[in-house]
């Protein structure tokens, strides 16, 4: 992987304990006939960390999770949980808890029986089972719901039962497959906060799969971004957002604009890790992604929406553009501009302006767009 040793250290809630491996994927592959769903993924996850696999649908993230859970075999490579190779171990013997997207609660069992299921198959005596299940239910905020059936609960409550069931037997590893996907937005944000709080209280490793970048940002110590069966990039949310290392990470995860450079002038004198480029009518010095070689002749720019602003339309700084549309979003205004490029290729940029009482510019307005280089990263074209 392209781990930058400086930035990939996870935030460790149990920093005083020596670093311990939670999950290790070693060149894991999954092929379905001709189709390669997961293509040689290697990943080391520290015990106690919260790692999110983020990717668009079809990127192989769910396949990866199902292999870790044991519902699917690996075509190649191996999966280690703790210090044990579990590639050929059935799901029940892997010491994992799993939260399903549709919760998969047992509809014929009461809440307490659902939560106690994992303890029952581990042959806990009935009294202790109930005691532990009640503890866990209290932890997720569902004390007193013991005898309800799943269908008598709301979506958010079912979600909590599913979580309680997965953590009741204190598995080393907790897997979550888009667990918040079925909830409405407000509840999703609140549950994400609770998941994070619970993670701080529990001593386990979490592997969380989602296609929602906000969830990934809120929850994760580290995020692995998947694309076409491979991990495109992995790092702390802050690093991936502020310094994306590929155009895909920049646009899919950061939501940044991607613009080609008109010319790459080589490394800036005196500063390592930067590069001088010509883009949007400006010669600027920007940070260089580790993936971009120092003597690259071509590059793209990852430009966050708030790294762009308007200059005096009558002046000659920046690039001329025409406002295509503008969306008022409360705290900000997103302005989409068609930029006039030298070769005439269409290029649309999103510019985030401060919102509040500001009035969005009307479509068709002629503007000039300038870029603030501090927030921009040069990535491979």
């Amino acid at each position: 992987m392209t781990d930058d040793p400086e930035t990939s250290q996870p935030l460790q809630p149990h920093a005083q304990t020596p670093r311990k491996l939670g999950l290790k994927l070693d060149r894991v592959c999954k092929r379905f006939g001709e189709v390669v769903a997961v293509n040689g993924i290697s990943l080391d996850i520290d015990h106690g960390s919260f790692v999110t696999i983020l990717g668009p649908s079809g990127s192989g993230k769910t396949t990866l999770l199902r292999m870790v859970a044991g519902f699917m075999g690996v075509s190649d490579g191996s999966i280690w949980i703790g210090d044990r190779d579990v590639s050929a171990v059935p799901p029940g013997k892997r010491d994992i808890g799993m939260v399903f997207q549709n919760y998969a609660l047992f509809p014929h069992m009461s809440v307490i029986d659902n939560v106690g299921y994992g303890l029952k198959v581990r042959k806990w005596p009935a009294a202790e089972r109930v005691k532990r299940a009640r503890e866990v239910l209290a932890l997720v905020g569902l004390a007193g719901f013991d005898d309800r059936l799943p269908r008598q609960l709301s979506g958010g409550q079912q979600q909590r039962v599913a979580l309680a069931r997965a953590i009741a037997f204190e598995p080393k590893m907790l897997l979550m497959d888009e667990p918040l996907g079925a909830l409405d937005r407000e509840l999703r944000v609140r549950m994400a906060g609770e998941l994070r709080r619970l993670h701080e209280e529990l001593d386990n490793t979490v592997l969380y799969v989602t296609h929602d970048r906000e969830e990934a940002l809120t929850l994760s110590d580290r995020i692995a971004i998947m694309r076409d069966g491979k991990v495109e990039s992995i790092g702390a949310p802050q690093d991936l957002y502020a310094r994306p290392d590929t155009a895909f990470v920049a646009s899919f995860f950061g939501g940044h604009n991607c613009a080609p450079c008109e010319a790459v002038l080589g490394p800036a004198p005196g500063t390592a890790g930067t590069v001088r480029v010509v883009a949007l009518g400006q010669t600027i010095e920007v940070a260089r992604s580790a993936r971009l070689s120092a003597d690259a002749k071509q590059a793209g720019l990852a430009i966050p929406g708030d790294a762009l602003e308007f200059a005096d339309a009558a002046g000659n700084t920046g690039a001329p553009a025409i406002v295509h549309s503008a969306v008022y979003m409360g705290n900000q205004i997103q302005v989409f501009c068609d930029v006039e490029t030298k070769d005439g290729a269409p290029m649309q940029l999103r510019i985030d302006l401060p919102g509040g009482r500001a009035v969005p510019p009307s479509p068709g307005t002629r503007v000039r767009v300038v870029v603030r280089p501090q927030l921009v990263t040069a990535v491979p074209a």
Binding site: A69, F71, M98, F100, F106, P107, Y117, A166
Partner: protein, 302 residues
């Protein structure tokens, strides 16, 4: 000039005729008329013959004398026992095998597996009973395919008796009834998410325990309902026991046919038919009591 006070009415709009007006709910008479053909069919083909059956069975006024006479005959008892026991075995096999097939159909991702399973259910379903029976005779007879294969491999020296016994009857009935079991079972299984089994497995259960603790309780009502359907159809079978079982393993239908066509003893036939009918009714009531309303409601909610 009172006419000038009324609102002008367009000439094309006729005064409202209530008998022509449309109503969302039809009256009870229309419902009855629509159901009439079925009602006539039930009365003529079912209720009248049933009444006749009862009157023939009890016509000489000795109350339950004909019933006690029926149960005092060892042949009758044996036939009834064979009918009910063999049908029970067939039901058990059909529900068990049918559940496996239906669950496989429900969960498999392979289109080939699905196609093969569907073909194996639908093809026998569409074939005529006589063809199916003949096929089984060809397989099972003294010098049939199976016996020749067994002797060819050297497992047996002389032909094994596979036809004209209880085994042949159970096999034939199972073959015939399996599609009738798979289809309702599949409908029941389709309300159960395969993720439940995965969830149970991830919580530490073995595959067997996962199925036993989730799918079995959730599908029990549909299994019982399916078993009831299969059992009741089996009780009334005539052709399969006649052809595959021969005279040594008569089903009660054969008994009734014998009484009617060979001995012209309509009374005895009627009594046999009534015993069979009451037996079937008991099974239905028992199943209803076992499944229960709450269970059915849960199965639907799942």
């Amino acid at each position: 000039m009172t006419a000038s006070v009324t609102m002008p009415v367009p000439a094309s709009r006729a005064p409202r005729d209530l008998s022509q007006s449309w109503s969302a709910e039809r009256g009870p008479l229309i419902g009855l008329a629509l159901a009439a053909p079925l009602i006539v069919l039930v009365v003529v083909m079912l209720l009248y013959p049933l009444g006749k059956l009862i009157s023939i069975a009890f016509d000489d006024g000795d109350g339950f004398g004909s019933i006690t006479a029926f149960f005092s005959s060892a042949a009758h008892i044996r036939t009834m026992r064979l009918t009910f026991v063999d049908s029970a075995i067939v039901t058990l096999v059909c529900v068990t095998v049918g559940s496996v097939v239906a669950w496989a159909l429900h969960t498999t991702a392979s289109r080939l597996t699905k196609a093969v399973l569907w073909a194996s259910i639908i093809l026998p379903f569409l074939m005529g009973s006589v063809i199916k029976l003949y096929a089984l005779v060809v397989l099972l007879e003294r010098h049939g395919v199976i016996n020749r294969a067994l002797m060819g491999i050297g497992i047996t020296d002389s032909p094994t008796r596979l036809l004209y016994n209880q085994f042949a009857v159970v096999l034939g009935l199972t073959y015939h009834m399996l599609p009738f079991a798979v289809l309702p079972l599949l409908a029941g299984f389709q309300t159960i998410s395969p993720d439940l089994v995965k969830a149970a497995e991830s919580l530490g259960a073995s595959r067997a325990y996962a199925l036993f603790s989730t799918v079995l309780p959730l599908s029990l009502p549909s299994m019982l309902a399916t078993g009831t359907i299969v059992y009741i159809i089996c009780l009334g079978f005539y052709l399969t026991p006649e052809v595959l079982g021969g005279p040594t393993t008569p089903f009660s239908s054969s008994l009734i046919a014998q009484d009617v066509f060979q001995f012209y003893d309509l009374k005895s036939a009627s009594v046999s038919a009534l015993v069979l009918l009451v037996g079937s009714l008991v099974v239905v009531l028992l199943a209803y009591a076992l499944v229960g309303r709450e269970r059915l409601a849960r199965a639907v909610a799942a």
